[in-house]
């Protein structure tokens, strides 16, 4: 599914009790990125990128400098351990930011994609909640 098409479909769709807002990030002649806001939580937008094989959904959680330096190793270890139990999503780092992401096949159905987006949005909030003790005040 093209990102444009996904955006249009999302606009008039509601699932699992939540709605979506989305728009393409202006990025002329570069990789298309769709910014999706689930359930009005614009603090944790999900960025959707399409490659040849996958649809990557990434939500940025916090930056390196927000982590309490003395707890960083412990945090990394915890995130690695959480990767398996956390449903559909995995933790990652992009540049200096920690992120949570999900990868879907490009052949995924619209329902699969919306389910991924809703789950990722929930996971992002849950994850932030869980790692708060590791972050600076």
């Amino acid at each position: 599914m093209e990102l444009n098409e996904l955006s249009i479909k999302l606009a008039s769709f509601e699932t699992e009790g939540v709605g979506f807002e989305s728009f393409m990030i202006a990025n002329p002649e570069q990789q298309d990125v769709l910014q999706v806001i689930v359930d009005g939580n614009d603090e944790l937008p999900i960025f959707v990128t399409q490659t040849q094989e996958q649809l990557l959904c990434i939500s940025y959680l916090f930056a390196d400098e927000e982590v309490k330096a003395e707890l960083k190793d412990e945090l990394n270890e915890t995130l690695l351990r959480l990767n398996v139990p956390i449903p559909l999503s995995a933790f990652a780092k992009v540049d200096n930011r920690y992120a949570i992401f999900g990868a879907l096949s490009v052949n995924s159905s619209f329902d699969d994609i919306t389910h991924e987006l809703v789950t990722l949005a929930d996971n992002a909030i849950e994850a932030l909640d869980a790692v708060t003790p590791y972050l600076n005040d």
Binding site: N27, Q31, Q35, T49, L56, I58, D129
Partner: protein, 230 residues
């Protein structure tokens, strides 16, 4: 070096400039060329394979036909000997000898074909493996590139959008607050609805035992019993 190893080293180095390609465009082109070459090789190997397999079947058929002829002529030779016609039997034996020479030649050819098929099947397998492997690696490179480009786009968005630059903690608090507000609104709406429907008052009256309550089944049964008693 495998692509994953290259990526690993590049990521560990960490000092990469934003947008600097991990594998240069030339590397990607070489990869794509390798995939195209492997696909060509696969195509060729498959075509040769079908040709050789067809020839193998033809040769097998010929050998079978020769074996039939040999058996047939051995029968003839036997009959000639029974008739005491030694000269004819010898002539037939010579013919059988020709058949056997021919059969041996075909068997040698068949052997060659069979070996060729094994080699070609191996080549097909290898080409398929190589294509899959290169495609997997190419996909890794391309995904890395896409994520890099996407990150640049996201960065410029985040930088122009000041609300997203606040700390994760502040974001979480705002989200939690919003969720709480929604809960409260929902609760308030429910309370209001109950009040306007008079359910609240009804519930209070029922609790106090005032007002028309639903007839209980025991009361109904008592009434029926009373009637029967009359």
């Amino acid at each position: 070096m495998s692509i994953l190893k290259k990526l690993f080293t590049a990521v560990r180095g960490g000092a990469r400039e934003a947008g600097e390609a991990i594998v240069d465009a030339n590397g990607i082109r070489i990869f794509e060329q390798e995939i195209a070459d492997a696909k060509n090789a696969l195509q060729k190997a498959k075509r040769s394979l079908t040709e050789v397999m067809a020839k193998e079947m033809q040769t097998s058929r010929k050998i079978k036909a020769l074996e039939d002829s040999i058996a047939e002529h051995e029968g003839y030779a036997g009959q000639a000997l029974e008739q005491g016609n030694e000269a004819l039997a010898l002539e037939i034996a010579e013919k059988i000898g020709d058949f056997e020479t021919e059969k041996a030649e075909h068997e040698e050819v068949l052997n060659g074909f069979s070996q060729h098929i094994v080699t070609l099947k191996q080549q097909v397998k290898e080409a398929e493996k190589s294509i899959k492997e290169n495609q997997r690696q190419l996909s890794m490179v391309k995904t890395t590139e896409s994520v890099q480009q996407a990150t640049m786009a996201v960065n410029s968005t985040l930088n122009t959008n000041s609300s997203s630059m606040t700390s994760a903690k502040a974001s979480l608090e705002r989200i939690r607050q919003r969720q709480q507000d929604r809960q409260d609104q929902l609760g308030a709406a429910k309370a209001l609805e109950a009040e306007t429907n008079g359910e609240d008052l009804k519930a209070k009256l029922a609790q106090a035992g005032i007002g028309g309550s639903n007839p209980k089944s025991e009361d109904i049964l008592a009434r029926i019993k009373a009637k029967q008693g009359n």
